[in-house]
C-alpha cells in the first residue's frame, strides 16, 4: 500500500448501520454508496462499553480499553466512592501553580506513531485529546474540553417568570423588567473564582422589542451590542471575567432569544473557552486554535457542543436545536476542508459529533409508544434522523472531491444507535439482592439520595456508578471495602450470573443480556482501573438516569420520559459502527465468514500500514488492507 500518501478519516459519531443499510438500499446515500463500490462497507465492532470516549480512544490507540485507560464517561474514586469525569483530571502541584489538565487516555495514539516516523497529522476534535498531544502536525481538542464553569456544558436561562427554577445542567438568572417591559439588566455567569468559589459575572442589558420579536443585548464584551431575534441563535459574544485583580478569563457565549415579551426569556449557551485565549490549551500548536478563529471566526470549543440540555429542559424547541446542529456541522466541515486543502500527506482526522447528539434527541420520534413522546407532537421530526444521514452523505461527497488515487478515505462511526425507553436501577437491584446495604432507617428512593451517600459500606459488596459499570467493594482498594481480594472473582461471577437475563417486570422482556467481568473484557496495563463488571443491556434499555450518579431509587425499571430518547450504551454486539473505505478491505465485501469482522482496534494499524509505518508493538488489531 505504499502508493498511499494521505489518509482521511471522517468520523460520524453514532452512525447506525441499520439506518445506513436502509438508506443505501433506497439509494439515498449516493456518496457512501460510491465508497462502498470503490472499496467496501462493513460493520465495525465497537468497544465495551459502546461509548464515544472509549471507542474513539480504542480507534486512536489500537488497543482495548485496558490499554488506554478510558472505560466509561465516569470513573469513581475508591477512596471516596465519588464519581468524576473519566476523560481528564486537573492537577495542581502547589497552591501557587496553575492547575494542569492531564489526559487520562493513555496508550500510544496513531498520530504519535506517525509523528515518530516523520509523518504529520491534522486531528480535529477527536475525543480524549484534551489537553492536546504534543505531536507532529496540528490538533484541535474534542470531547473532554470543558466550558468556563469546568463542566461539559452549563447553560443559563433568563426569564421574568416568578417560578424560575434551574433545570438540569443549568443556571437561571431572573430578568427584572423595567421601562414598561422593554428593558432588563442581568449578567452572564462566568467561571467561579477559584479561591472564593463565588461566580464571576459580566453584566448585560437587554433592550426588548416585543412588537418585532427582537432585542438587543449590550455588554462590555465584543461586540458591545448584538441583535437577537426570537428563535434564532445570535452571533458570539466575547466576554472577559475578572478572576482577580490581575487575572481575567475570556470566554465566548451565544444566545437564543426565546421570547421578547411580554414574558421575556433568553437562553445562553455554556460559556466556551475563547479560542483566542483558551483558559487551558485546546490546540497543538497552541496558536492553531487562534489560526482557525482568524480564518473562520469564533467557533465552539467545548467538548460537547450541541446544547442538548436546552432542548431536554424544554428551554427551546427541536427547531432551534436542529438549527444549532446545522451550524456545528458547517463549522466542523470548514475546519476539515481547511486541512484537506493544505495537508498533502499524512493523516487528516475529523470527528463530526452531531449525528450522535441529534439521534439522542430525535430517536423517540421514530418510535410509536416511546415513553418520552408527548401527545400532539408534530410528526415533522420523524424524518430528521434520516435527513441528517443524507446530509452526512453529502458531506462525504464534498470530502471525496479532495480524494485522489493516492488517498485512503475512511468514513466510519464509533458505535451505532438504538432506543432508550426503559432505565434499569442497578443499585436498587443490588440492594434487593442484599449486595448493597443502606444505612439504618434509609429505604431506597428519595431518602437514599445520590452519590451513594446513604450506603452502609460495612455491609455492601457491590455498587453501580457510571453508565453500566458495577464495582465491588474490595478491601484494600475501596476505603471501606469488605470483599476480600481473593474472593472478588467469585463475587463478581455471582453478581454477573444473577443479573444476566434480568427481566423487566412491567414489560416481561429481558432487560439485561449479559454481564461481563473485567477479566473477560480487558487486558493491558490499565485493566486494573476498569469496573469489575460491565452490564450489557438489551435494545431499548439502559442504565437509569439516577444510577449513573450513584442513586438508589425505589423500583427496578422505569420509563425514560426524557427527550433524550435514544442511546447506545447497551450490549456492544447490538450497536456496531459502520466502516466505509475507498479501497477494498478485509470484511469490506461482506465476506464476514472468511475473517473476523473489522474492529475499532484495526483502524490504527490500517492507517499506519497504508502509510508504510509499522504498527506500535502494543496495538492489538491488524491492518484491514492486506
Amino acid at each position: 500500500m505504499n502508493d498511499v500518501e494521505k489518509v482521511i478519516v471522517v468520523g460520524l459519531d453514532g452512525l447506525e448501520p441499520t439506518i445506513v443499510d436502509r438508506l443505501l438500499a433506497r439509494g439515498e446515500l449516493p456518496n457512501l454508496a460510491r465508497l462502498r463500490a470503490q472499496g467496501g462497507y462493513s460493520r465495525v465492532a465497537t468497544t465495551t462499553p459502546a461509548q464515544t470516549p472509549v471507542a474513539w480512544s480504542t480507534f486512536a490507540t489500537g488497543v482495548n480499553p485496558g490499554g488506554h485507560g478510558i472505560f466509561d464517561f465516569l470513573r469513581r474514586d475508591p477512596a471516596t466512592y465519588l464519581p468524576d469525569l473519566a476523560l481528564n483530571r486537573y492537577e495542581q502541584k502547589s497552591a501557587f501553580l496553575p492547575p494542569k489538565v492531564v489526559n487520562l487516555r493513555r496508550g500510544t495514539p496513531v498520530w504519535r506513531v506517525l509523528g515518530d516516523a516523520g509523518i504529520a497529522s491534522a486531528i480535529i476534535r477527536c475525543p480524549c485529546t484534551y489537553p492536546p498531544d504534543d505531536s507532529r502536525g496540528r490538533m484541535l481538542s474534542g470531547m473532554g474540553v470543558p466550558d468556563l464553569r469546568g463542566g461539559l456544558g452549563t447553560s443559563t436561562f433568563y426569564s421574568n417568570a416568578a417560578d424560575l427554577v434551574a433545570r438540569e445542567s443549568e443556571q437561571v438568572v431572573p430578568l427584572v423588567l423595567e421601562n414598561g417591559g422593554t428593558r432588563a439588566t442581568a449578567h452572564v455567569i462566568g467561571p467561579r473564582n477559584p479561591k472564593s468559589r463565588a461566580d464571576l459575572v459580566a453584566p448585560i442589558t437587554l433592550e426588548l422589542d416585543p412588537s418585532s420579536r427582537s432585542a438587543s443585548l449590550q455588554s462590555e464584551g465584543q461586540p458591545r451590542t448584538i441583535r437577537l431575534r426570537e428563535g434564532e441563535w445570535s452571533e458570539w459574544l466575547r466576554l472577559k471575567f475578572k478572576s482577580g485583580l490581575l487575572q481575567s478569563v475570556s470566554g465566548i457565549v451565544r444566545f437564543l432569544l426565546v421570547s421578547a415579551g411580554p414574558d421575556a426569556a433568553l437562553y445562553a449557551s455554556p460559556v466556551n473557552f475563547d479560542p483566542l485565549a483558551p483558559h487551558f490549551p485546546i490546540s497543538h500548536p497552541w496558536e492553531y486554535a487562534t489560526e482557525l478563529q482568524r480564518e473562520f471566526g469564533d467557533f465552539y470549543t467545548t467538548g460537547m457542543v450541541e446544547d442538548h440540555t436546552g432542548l431536554s429542559n424544554e428551554r427551546f424547541d427541536e427547531a432551534a436545536y436542529l438549527a444549532q446542529c446545522d451550524g456545528v456541522m458547517r463549522e466542523r466541515e470548514q475546519m476539515l476542508m481547511h486541512e484537506l486543502s493544505r495537508q498533502r500527506e499524512g493523516l487528516v482526522f475529523c470527528l463530526f459529533d452531531t449525528p450522535d447528539r441529534l439521534q439522542h434527541m430525535f430517536w423517540r420520534f421514530g418510535e410509536e409508544g416511546h415513553p418520552a413522546n408527548r401527545e400532539q407532537e408534530s410528526a415533522e421530526y420523524a424524518g430528521v434522523i434520516e435527513e441528517h444521514y443524507r446530509q452526512c452523505d453529502a458531506l462525504v461527497g464534498r470530502v471525496l472531491a479532495a480524494v485522489d488515487d493516492r488517498t485512503l478515505c475512511i468514513v466510519m462511526s464509533d458505535h451505532g444507535f438504538n432506543s432508550f425507553q426503559r432505565g434499569v436501577h442497578l443499585n436498587a437491584w443490588l440492594h434487593a439482592q442484599g449486595l448493597l446495604a443502606l444505612k439504618p432507617g434509609i429505604r431506597p428512593g428519595e431518602d437514599a439520595g445520590e452519590l451513594l451517600r446513604q450506603v452502609d459500606w460495612s455491609r455492601t459488596q457491590a455498587y453501580a456508578m457510571g453508565l453500566g459499570s458495577i464495582y465491588l467493594n474490595i478491601r484494600g482498594r475501596e476505603s471501606e471495602g469488605i470483599v476480600a481480594p481473593d474472593e472478588a472473582p467469585s463475587v463478581a461471577r455471582r453478581v454477573a450470573d444473577a443479573l444476566t437475563g434480568l427481566v423487566d417486570p412491567d414489560r416481561g422482556a429481558v432487560a439485561i443480556r449479559r454481564v461481563r467481568t473485567r477479566d473477560e473484557l480487558y487486558s493491558g496495563p490499565f485493566a486494573e482501573e476498569s469496573p469489575d463488571l460491565v452490564v450489557h443491556f438489551a435494545a431499548g434499555y439502559r442504565v437509569s438516569w439516577t444510577t449513573a450518579l450513584g442513586g438508589v431509587p425505589d423500583g427496578l425499571v422505569e420509563d425514560n420520559v426524557k427527550k433524550w430518547g435514544g442511546d447506545h450504551i447497551i450490549d456492544p454486539e447490538l450497536v456496531p459502527g459502520v466502516l466505509f473505505m475507498n479501497r477494498p478491505f478485509a470484511g469490506g465485501a461482506g465476506d464476514v465468514a472468511a475473517v473476523p469482522g473489522p474492529r475499532l482496534q484495526d483502524l490504527a494499524p490500517t492507517i499506519l500500514a497504508s502509510l508504510g509505518v509499522p504498527a506500535a508493538p502494543a496495538m492489538e488489531g491488524r491492518s484491514l488492507l492486506d
Binding site: K93, L97, L245, Q247, K562, W564
Partner: protein, 488 residues
C-alpha cells in the same frame, strides 16, 4: 510549613507586577499578598539582604554599605563580608530549633556562612576555586550539575552588551539548575537564594528599555533584554514551584528597586569647591578619593562615592587631626546637611536630595557610621567620589564603568502560602518586616532581636481550618459532569 525565599536582587515593583505575561508571578500575586517593599537606607545589596534576614537595620548591624570605616582614621576602609555581621539570621534562629536551611547566594555569603544545612557563596566570592560552599563538597556537586558555576558576571559594567546578556542569562540558568537540585534533594525547612543576575541586567540594559532615561536609545537591539529576563525568571520560578508541595510558603522578594540613573554628582569635587575638602594639590586628571593628597588639618568634610554618598566629618578628638570642634559637631552637621539638601541639578533646578542622620534613622548606631548619608536626587543621581573634574559637578559617565540604573528605595515582595489569605496588594511593608512575617507564616516564634513586625500581626489562622470539604467536593463533581447528558 517550609519557607522558600526567592530573592530577586533589584527587582523593580513596576516591572515585576506590571507584566501580565509573567504568569507564575501573577499566580503567586493572586494567591497571596504583594506590594512595594520599602528598603533600608541605604537601599544597597550590602547590607540590605542581611538586614532582611536579621530584621535589623544597618545601624544596628553596624554595616552601612560595601565599604565601611574600620576606625576613625582616614584610611582604614573595610570591605564587608559575611563575617562582618554578628546578628542571628533566620536560618540561625531556625537552626536553634534543629531546622535545616539551604542558603544560596544571599549577600554577603563569602566566606560561605556556616548553616545547619548548605550554603553557597554569593557574588562576593572571589573565585569558585576558593572554598565557596559549606560544606565544601557541595562545590563538587555543583560542578557536576552545571560545570563552572558563576557567582557573578565579572566586569558587568561593560559596553560589550551581547557578551553581557549572554553571561547574565547563563549565570541565572546555572543558578536555577542548582537551586532546583537542592530544593528537590536537600533537606530543608528554610530555603533562600538570591538571583544577582537581575541586578546586573538592570544596571547593564536599563537605558535601552526606559524612554525616560537621558541616554535612552530607541529601538535598540537590547531594548527587550530586561523584559526577556523577567520572562526567564518567571519561567524558572514556574519550574521551581513544580518542585514544592502545597505546604510550602513562597516569598518572592527584592532588596531594593531600580530606577534610571540620570548621572553622577561629584560630591568631593563639590566639597573642594565649597572649601570643605582641602587638597594639598588639585589633581590634573580625575583621581579616586583614596589617591588624593588631602590636607586633613584643614578639611572638615569628605565623602565616599557609590550609589549614594557617605559623608564624614573631621571632628576634633575623634579623627586624628579633627578640624571641627567637638562642641559644634551637631550644628556643623546640620549646616552640611542643609547644603547637601540644597544641591541643584545641572541647570540649577532643585535636585531633591535626601540627607539622613544615622542617629535619626537607625535604632542603634554601631561601629563607625557615616555622619550623613545622602541620596542625590532621591537616587536619580549617584555619588562620584573622584576629584579632577575641573569644577564640573554633574557628569554623565560613571567613574566605575557604564551603568544605566541606580537603586530605588522601594523593592517588591509577593508572599503566598496556604495559610495566607489572598489579600491582594498590601501597603506599607518594610524590609525589616520580612523575617518576622516569615516566622509567623512558618509557625515560628518571632525572636526578640527582630526590629520589624509581621505583616499579618499575628492574625494568621491555622491553615487546616477549612469549610465543609465534602459538600464542596460534591458540588465540584456536579459541576464537572454538568451537561454530560447521559446522567441526571
Amino acid at each position: 510549613m517550609r519557607l522558600l525565599v526567592i530573592g530577586l536582587d533589584c527587582a523593580a515593583p513596576a516591572l515585576l507586577f506590571g507584566d501580565e505575561r509573567l504568569v507564575n508571578i501573577r499566580r503567586l500575586m493572586d494567591a497571596g499578598v504583594y506590594g512595594r517593599l520599602e528598603s533600608v537606607i541605604p537601599p544597597i545589596t550590602i547590607p540590605a539582604w542581611r538586614c532582611m534576614v536579621t530584621s535589623r537595620d544597618p545601624g544596628s548591624l553596624g554595616v552601612y554599605g560595601f565599604r565601611n570605616r574600620g576606625d576613625h582614621s582616614y584610611s582604614k576602609l573595610e570591605i564587608a563580608n559575611s563575617r562582618s555581621f554578628k546578628a542571628l539570621t533566620m536560618w540561625d534562629h531556625l537552626a536553634l530549633e534543629g531546622r535545616k536551611s539551604v542558603i544560596i547566594g544571599v549577600p554577603p555569603s563569602f566566606p560561605p556562612p556556616r548553616v545547619n544545612g548548605i550554603s553557597v557563596g554569593c557574588f562576593m566570592t572571589p573565585s569558585v576555586d576558593d572554598v565557596y560552599t559549606n560544606p565544601p563538597e557541595v562545590a563538587d556537586e555543583i560542578r557536576d550539575l552545571v560545570g563552572e558555576y558563576l557567582v557573578d558576571v565579572k566586569g558587568f559594567r561593560t559596553n560589550d552588551k551581547d557578551w553581557l546578556r549572554e553571561q547574565i542569562f547563563e549565570m541565572s540558568r546555572k543558578q536555577f539548575t542548582v537551586v532546583r537540585h537542592y530544593v528537590e534533594h536537600a533537606e530543608w525547612d528554610y530555603f533562600h537564594f538570591v538571583n544577582i543576575a537581575l541586578d546586573r541586567v538592570h544596571h547593564g540594559f536599563w537605558k535601552y528599555m526606559d524612554p525616560s532615561h537621558p541616554d535612552h536609545e530607541p529601538d535598540s537591539p537590547w531594548r527587550d533584554v530586561i523584559s526577556d529576563f523577567y520572562l526567564h525568571l518567571d519561567e524558572e520560578i514556574g519550574k521551581l514551584l513544580e518542585l514544592v508541595d502545597s505546604e510550602t510558603a513562597v516569598l518572592v522578594v527584592s532588596d531594593h528597586g531600580a530606577q534610571a540613573l540620570h548621572g553622577g554628582f561629584c560630591v568631593n569635587e563639590w566639597l573642594v569647591k565649597e572649601g570643605l575638602l582641602v587638597l594639598e594639590e588639585y589633581p590634573d586628571t580625575v583621581t579616586p578619593f583614596g589617591k588624593l593628597k588631602v590636607d586633613w588639618t584643614r578639611t572638615t568634610v569628605w565623602s565616599e562615592g557609590g550609589y549614594y554618598a557617605r559623608v564624614f566629618l573631621n571632628v576634633e578628638g575623634r579623627e586624628p587631626t579633627g578640624a571641627i570642634p567637638a562642641a559644634s559637631y551637631e550644628s556643623f552637621r546640620d549646616e552640611i546637611a542643609r547644603k547637601l539638601a540644597a544641591i541643584t541639578g545641572p541647570a540649577g533646578e532643585p535636585l531633591g536630595t535626601l540627607v539622613f542622620k544615622p542617629q535619626e534613622i537607625y535604632r542603634e548606631v554601631r561601629n563607625v557610621a557615616p555622619d550623613l548619608i545622602a541620596h542625590f536626587g532621591a537616587l536619580d543621581w549617584r555619588s562620584i567620589g573622584g576629584v579632577g573634574y575641573q569644577g564640573v559637578l554633574h557628569v554623565r559617565e560613571n567613574d566605575t564603568g557604564p551603568d544605566d540604573c541606580n537603586h530605588a528605595q522601594f523593592g517588591a515582595f509577593i508572599l503566598a502560602a496556604p495559610n495566607v489569605p489572598a489579600l491582594g496588594e498590601m501597603q506599607g511593608a518594610r524590609l525589616l518586616d520580612i523575617a518576622p512575617t516569615l516566622c509567623e507564616v512558618g509557625g515560628y516564634e518571632i525572636p526578640d532581636s527582630f526590629q520589624g513586625r509581621s505583616l499579618f500581626d499575628g492574625s494568621l489562622r491555622d491553615a487546616s481550618t477549612g469549610g465543609d470539604l465534602s459538600a464542596e467536593g460534591e458540588e465540584i463533581i456536579r459541576q464537572r459532569l454538568s451537561g454530560l447528558g447521559y446522567i441526571s
